[in-house]
Amino acid sequence: MRRVVITGIGIVCPVGNTVDDSWNALCHGVSGLGPITLFDASTMPVRIGGEVKNFDVESIKNRWPRAESLRDRKVFLGLAAAQEAIESSGCPIEEWAKVAIHVGMSLESFFLEDVAEVANEEDLTAILAARTLSSLGGPLLQSPLDTLAEFLADRLSSSIPPTTNCSACAAGGQSIGLAFRQIRAGEIDIALAGAADSMLNPLGLGGFSLLKALSDENDDPKRSCRPFDVTRTGTTLGEGASFLVLEELGRAQDRNAKIYSEIVGYGSSLDSFRVSDPDPEGNGASLAMDCALKDAKMPPQAVDAVNAHGTGTPKNDPVEIMAIKRVLGKRSFEIPIHAVKSMTGHMIAASGALEAAVSVLSLNRNLIPPTINLAKPDPACDLYIVKDFAKAFTGNTVLSNSFGFGGQNAALIFRRWIP
């Protein structure tokens, strides 16, 4: 069976705009959460989030000339992370024509300010149409989810069909998993897979606020997201993007590529419970982990760490811990578990891709970033959660979980690369 390795990484997230900056911040327990500044959220019930800081959209537009007309923030975040992943792989640009591009996204950006201008009209759609279609090149009301994937495919002149995966918070993990499967099956040799997202806009933040899924601790944003803490009150939205370059082992070795880690397993499942809540028994979550282990042909004892979905919502965290215990048994009490959302917030579609990248870096750089804000561990989350400080890590495998809104789950397994 063909083996698949990671040869490139790109990260743009609330704690850093490159892999190195993000990794350093995560390992030092830096919180990227703060008051929202991207729009006036002062009257919103939730006014905090994990914004990507000092993000220079203009430089992205300069590097990607056709991006000038775009105005969807998550596409720019995605382009920046993809660019870093491509460059870090060291793969010459002429070799990208056969790359498969898999992009995770969640909510389409709909530019409400354009719709609002005609909101008082009786026939809203007709007026809206007249306004937006009256002149050539009028503002696009919405940014289709495939914008980033199509953009990357076009720029890299790839002849492999790109996918746009909209499986909510599982989209990033699924995109990487599907790319892994394609390479392992011999359909392709190289893939760029990851996700980008930004819900930090009125529609995204407003919608999630209404669902009561977010922490409203507006006065203390850095502590607002507390996975596995008994006082947690909800997650905090973040934004960002992350991409991995996946490559068939022989191909990577032939070109002397730097190999960060190997990817050995992927599993996906559905809760089939409710659109709003995780299955309280954690059956969907454990099924995804089970499938990933079977896919990797690994026993539970071989898992050395878990990069948890760890949202900090009252419902998610104990369910995830229950599922980890069910799948890993005794092993679950012996290994470190951590949740980077405590620092980045929940990057929705991009969260699984970021956490996959962090898992790869943990294996490559021998450290596990901490879960911050964990002062009073929830008795229902009684596993070894890495807290406060990064932990040295010499294990060989990391399991990375992503559980999506709507009940979609993904689990990935990465293994240390030993030449």
Binding site: F39, S42, T43, M44, P45, M105, S106, L107, E108, L112, E113, V115, A116, E117, A119, N120, D123, L124, T125, A126, L128, A129, T132, L133, L141, Q142, P144, L145, D146, A153, D154, S158, S159, I160, P161, P162, T163, N165, C166, S167, A168, A171, Q174, P202, G206, S209, L210, L211, S269, L270, S272, F273, R274, V275, S276, L287, F405, G406, G407, Q408
Partner: protein
């Protein structure tokens, strides 16, 4: 690609402007009936004046849990109904004769149609004195004008997630967005999951709703109606959902069901529309045909994807007829001429028509999925 383990189509569920019965659908296509009519909403501003709507069908009665309806958008209702019909058609009872964890779910959803009935009150409550969106008023007053269910109606994965919840499907899954080519890739992922043994069976298909004014607005903005402007003809937006129940040959044989067809070959590729190179596009289509259809195959039916005589339509027909020869015994159909364009659900529709024709005649079908977006795919269906 060729599957090592045969993947059968054992169930078809469709909610289309031509009805919910696969047989009625096929008869209507053969009889030349079309559901495409002048749009009922004001369409002066749009290049396209026609659409195809699902009407006179009590779709909601097909939903297993009517309480879910308040959370569901129109495309989610279509998806849940089509999925139910596909499962019934396959004769499967999930968690009785097939375990839910061994059933995959691979779907595609379309470009979001903003639910204006939900959004308008929010926006109206959020305007400043100049009629501009005021974020402060949005927080203070706008959010109070809507309901928490808004999120369930705008997240792109929700229509397919409702299918999983209502049908107790718990296996491998993925949801793609937003055009026909992504729908084809969802079907390919389902075939892959079954052929590698990850699942015993899977629902694969899509849903969309573009036969309304917001849909028209999105489509026109994204250039889908350009052929109406440039060539005076083009696609007619439609709405509905199509799901296929796909099953491993061993599972189907164990249940002793008669499949519609087996998906024997497939290949997806990309067409660079911005190159405007007919020759390049033709080469891609020929490559997909060579990669998916075995030499010497007895083809009975071509299910082509172009619609209403556009340049793309002509290119596709010319390429396929050039490849297979203009044999009178090969029946060629264009489902979109009859159903309108189902976009995210169109690929499943193409395969559904091909599968029905193959089961009826015993001859193989080639179904092509070529729509907006860069991805195109060809499937080869054989009699079982």
């Amino acid at each position: 690609m060729k599957s090592e383990n045969d993947v059968f189509i054992t169930g078809i569920g469709c909610v289309t402007p031509l009805g919910t019965s696969p047989n009625v659908l096929l008869d209507a296509i053969r009889a030349g009936q079309t559901a495409i009519k002048p749009s009922l909403f004001p369409s002066e501003i749009f290049y396209c004046k026609n659409n195809a709507r699902v009407s006179n069908i009590d779709v909601e009665s097909l939903i297993r849990d009517p309480k879910s309806l308040r959370l569901m958008n129109r495309d989610a209702v279509f998806a849940a109904a089509a999925a139910r019909l596909a499962i019934e058609d396959a004769g499967v009872e999930i968690d009785k004769n097939i375990q839910g964890r061994r059933v995959g779910l691979f779907g595609s959803t379309g470009l979001m149609c903003l639910p204006l009935e939900e959004i308008s009150p929010v926006l109206r409550a959020s305007l400043d004195s100049n009629g501009k969106l005021d974020p402060k008023k949005l927080g203070n007053e706008g959010l109070k004008a809507t309901r928490p269910v808004l999120s369930f109606k705008i997240l792109s994965n929700m229509p397919v997630c409702f299918v999983s919840i209502l049908e107790k499907i718990r296996g491998p899954n993925a949801i793609f967005n937003p055009w026909e080519g992504q729908g084809a890739l969802a079907i390919i992922e389902a075939v892959r999951a079954i052929s590698t043994g990850e699942a015993d069976c899977a629902l694969a298909g899509g849903c969309d709703q573009k036969a309304n004014s917001m849909g028209f607005l999105s489509l026109q903005q994204h250039g889908v109606f350009d052929s109406w402007k440039n060539e005076g003809t083009g696609t007619a937006p439609s709405e509905g959902a199509v799901f296929l129940f796909l099953e491993s040959s061993s599972s189907a044989n164990r249940r002793k069901v008669k499949p519609y067809a087996t998906i024997k070959g497939w290949k997806a590729g990309t067409i660079k529309r911005n190159l405007h190179s007919v020759e390049d596009e033709k080469k891609v289509l020929e490559f997909l045909l060579k990669s998916s259809v075995p030499r010497g195959a007895s083809i009975g039916h071509l299910i082509l994807s172009g619609d209403n005589g556009t340049m793309l339509n002509k290119l596709e027909e010319e390429t396929f007829k050039g490849f297979f020869g203009s044999k009178p015994e090969i029946e060629t159909v264009f489902p979109k001429h009859h159903l309108g364009n189902l976009f995210a659900a169109a690929a499943a529709g193409q395969l559904a028509v091909g599968a029905m024709m193959t089961r009826e005649s015993g001859y193989a079908s080639v179904a092509n999925c070529l729509g907006h977006g860069s991805t195109t795919a060809t499937f080869y269906l054989e009699n079982c």
